[in-house]
Symmetry: C2
Subunit: 572 residues, 2 copies
């Protein structure tokens, strides 16, 4: 039985475009004499479709597409994910289902049982979990078909059901898992470990097909694969790319699956980055915040894909951003050039009287290195006109945050003027450390349609720049060496008001990723005063982050929809 693994970049709700892709791949697989083609979870409609799922016309459109595809599956079978109405009177209105299409019709429907409802996931918001389980049958083979999280209970105890335990009673010869499992920097290892654990426990080979491509914040990295029952990976689809590959299943439990010619060699990523459970592991912070080629390269690729797909899927081509001469905007600029091409990246240099000469030089050097379009728009006269308009009301008050923010907001306004005038999308350059402690100006440097670095700690910003400069110096050395500064007042340094980033990032990681509060942090030797201050800053900045741009997620816990905090809550 020749099986095709189709790793596809879907566009949520864009039924026409998705249909073209899916049907072309089925056609290709037919031509290549495949018996079965496997698409990923909720391939029809795309994932995550969120509250589109609550619109009856959306669900009807999904069903129509499924039926249309079924008609197309005559000389081939197809497994594909699709949301579908729950026919029972009780329970949620929908199922997250996988269908086996064959002989022009729907042969089997399998519903997902374990519905991730944590972090960025909201599946129980829409779907009723399956409570009964049966294998599907194809060419006389019993196959245990499951959907994503359905096999993840092997490592987590978040559910009280276990689909595979029930399916094993039927003695299947193969597992197929279709997934929509988003990227974070250690997800690839977790995924392989989970597949290994299943393969070892059930003594069966597994075919795993995942989404690829970015849907605003969520980046899907693909990495579909076939693992034999001895845990050998015999086919590995690439990360961050669409791909179609074939394997031959010879039948019979534990029998070998042969990968076809276009087998991609698996990089043994586990050697470079070991996965450890969160929460109990302060060492995890050190590991993530330290430099590694593998991890940093992976984050780099994810961010590039995240930018590229945001533009492609929202129908835009060109980006604009402000270059300060600092490290964050330099990094975003390089990522944007990689994702969109140098001809599509426009930068503004908007110096004030507090901007240093070296900042301007560093920004210009980067522009030269990248060969992009630069616009020079000084803001001094704009600031003066704001200040003179406010003079009567502000007289007798000391200069302070209000005046500093005028600079940031004038820059934001100029960038948005370019965005509005030329149809560029404004990229936001705030990093995760700043976003965490509220070190940024709402409607100023927090402007932008997409937060490129909002899930990247300052320490990781440095790592990514180092990675970029490995072969040749693209980001000016001075940008990397000088102390970080917002340059909103004379001789300002980030370190004036924040702990050194090395310490800050570690505290933030333990608080945000590992959920440690003051008690856990002080018990592990962190200074109580610093920790209390940092956590208070994090809590007090909720109102700012609520209005931040969506953030490309590269960690297990990004700001945005995966972290939902009260705004007027007072716990710290």
């Amino acid at each position: 039985m020749k099986i095709a693994l189709a790793q596809v970049n879907y566009h949520i709700g864009n039924f026409e475009a998705n249909y073209l892709k899916i049907s072309a791949l089925i056609e290709q697989a037919k031509t290549d004499k495949a018996d079965l083609i496997v698409f990923s979870e909720l391939a029809i409609g795309g994932y995550p479709a969120r509250d589109f799922l609550e619109e009856p016309s959306y669900i009807e459109a999904c069903l129509q597409q499924l039926l249309q595809l079924a008609l197309f599956c005559t000389d081939i079978s197809c497994i594909i994910g699709c949301p579908v109405k729950n026919k029972a009177e009780e329970g949620k209105k929908l199922h997250n289902a996988a269908f086996l299409l064959s002989n022009g019709k729907i042969m089997f429907q399998v519903n997902k049982a374990l519905l991730p409802t944590y972090d960025v996931f909201d599946e129980y918001r829409y779907f009723e979990p399956a409570k009964s389980f049966a294998c599907i049958e194809l060419q006389g083979h019993k196959i245990a078909l499951t959907i994503c999280e359905d096999i993840w209970n092997i490592q987590k105890s978040m559910y009280t059901q276990s689909p595979m335990e029930v399916l094993m009673l039927e003695k299947p010869v193969l597992m197929i898992n279709i997934a929509a499992s988003p990227f974070h920097y250690s997800q690839a290892e977790r995924r392989i470990e989970t597949l290994e654990a299943n393969v070892l426990k059930y003594r069966l080979p597994i075919i795993y097909v995942n989404h690829v491509g970015a849907q605003t914040e969520l980046i899907f990295d693909g990495g579909s694969l076939v693992m034999l029952s001895d845990t050998t990976i015999t086919a590995q689809l690439p990360y961050f790319e669409e791909n179609l590959q074939y394997v031959d299943f010879l039948g019979g439990r534990n029998e070998v699956i042969l990968a076809s010619d276009n087998l991609v060699t698996l990089v043994d990523q586990k050697k470079n980055f070991s996965v450890k459970p969160l929460l109990s592991m302060p060492e995890l912070a050190d590991e993530v915040l330290a430099y590694s080629d593998l991890l940093t390269g992976r984050i780099y690729q994810a961010l590039v894909l995240g930018i590229r797909d945001y533009f492609k899927k929202s129908g835009f081509r060109s980006a604009v951003l402000g270059l300060s001469g600092g490290i964050d905007s330099a990094l975003v600029c390089v990522l944007a050039v990689h994702a969109l091409g140098s001809e599509n990246v426009h930068v503004l240099l908007m110096p004030s009287k507090y901007s240093s000469d070296h900042s301007l030089k560093d920004a210009r050097d980067l522009v030269d290195n990248l060969g992009i379009q630069m616009h020079f728009v000084p803001i001094s006269s704009i600031i003066s006109s704001f200040e003179s308009s406010l003079k009567a009301d502000f007289i007798g008050f000391e200069q302070g945050i209000a005046e500093e923010n005028l600079q940031a907001r004038s820059r934001g306004t100029l960038l948005m003027a370019f965005s509005n005038k030329f149809g560029h999308i404004l990229l936001n350059t705030s990093n995760k450390s700043e976003a965490a402690v509220g070190y940024g100006t709402l409607y100023g440097d927090m402007c932008g349609a997409l937060g490129i670095l909002g899930d990247v700690y300052k320490s990781q910003v440095y790592q990514l720049c180092k990675y970029i400069n490995l072969k040749e110096v693209i980001i000016p050395t001075n940008t990397l060496l000088k102390p970080p500064s917002a340059e909103l007042r004379p001789d300002q340094k980030d370190s004036d008001s924040l702990p050194a980033y090395e310490l800050l990032d570690k505290i933030l990681f333990l608080h945000i990723e590992c959920k440690w509060g003051v008690p856990e942090l002080t018990a592990h030797g962190f200074d109580c005063e610093i920790v209390t201050k940092v956590i208070k800053l994090v809590n007090n900045a909720e109102f700012k982050r609520y209005q931040a741009a969506p953030i490309l997620r590269i960690s297990p816990k990004a700001f945005g929809m995966g972290r939902r905090m009260p705004i007027v809550g007072k716990y710290s």
Copy 2:
């Protein structure tokens, strides 16, 4: 058995403040010789605590407060909600629990079974549902104690369990339901209908205790009550206020509960506003969008409480907003004065060359009527300085959105300067109709910490103004009569680019509240071209709304966390 109903305004995570309130009420109830005092769902810690619930130290703090309160319950029993660890190895880490405290210790724990995970609710994100059920016992009486949604399955079929069905096997004599059930304009009727349905089905009286007070977007309206088994409401606590009331339970099924002296008369609200199921009911749109004293007055009260609590709980006192002379800012201004006092509301008049004379006059009239502080900051010179800075880059391009937005963003920057300088909170004045179709400028008129009208359609804005002006004209008549305009270019009217609000609001209501797509709307006689345009506008504005301020929720479907849409999705 004398029972106290404690309807309390909690502050999420503010353990000290909450403890002071709870313990004082217990003390009061002891003094008044009550046998039992009932607090609402998740009273300990507050609701919704969201991802605070994932912090082990937060859960530990809740437990410590529960234990401390138990010690305090010596001559009285207490029912109170508190999040607590799930001791089982499988399933979610927590339960949403209700405790009976008595004799200085925890006597019973009841876990919530039906976990709302839709709209603004995320309970399955945190809690494992109860699977077994038992009555609690107090003074020899069996009591069916449930938590909020646990009794709502009587009208919905969203769950496959039914706690009350199981509890009835023990033949209880009384139902107690503790809730954290947020306000929307028709929730009071739905709540009473749900309680009636339970009372009639199980032939038991019910004591219902709800939260009161606002937690950023969510406004809890209280309305705790006691309903006899013949559906007579024998005690009704007020809406939108903290309150403590007593009833005497004489024991025995169907026996009468006597309300004590401070019984509040129930307004028969059902006569004025009938509740109908969503989705199948286009008439619902007409009902909500038409004026009624009761409904409008209720929304008015909710918005005032929403503003007041946001300020109180975030530790601020004064507000700033821009007055355009238009109806939205006028309404927000009146609400803010009611919530915060005229001395705490500061307004900016920021005319441009496109501002009409009547706008300035209307704004000044309102300022006079309210006796608030006004600042006059014209923006022409600021706009000029932006335009001259951009001249070199914009030369040869026609004036358009970019220039219009400069005005809105300059105003936003000025308002934020006042906010930063004087510690005022900026109130956002965008209404739901505008927010829906993206008729607003990001970082411009979309600035603000809290969206006061973001869940109020333009038609309802007019209704609220009419309501305010019933006794005396506070909002200038001209503000109500003139055609709406953003005044960003000469002679601009909202109706230039949008359908009339009467039609627009109806389409929006059916699309947003009722989830109707193009097929359903055209099937009901709406013009296909208009409907397609409106829904496309709604979808294309997702990126803007993502960065909007949190919005006070007054409808069953508000923008914000209760409506989660893909940003780069392309379905319409």
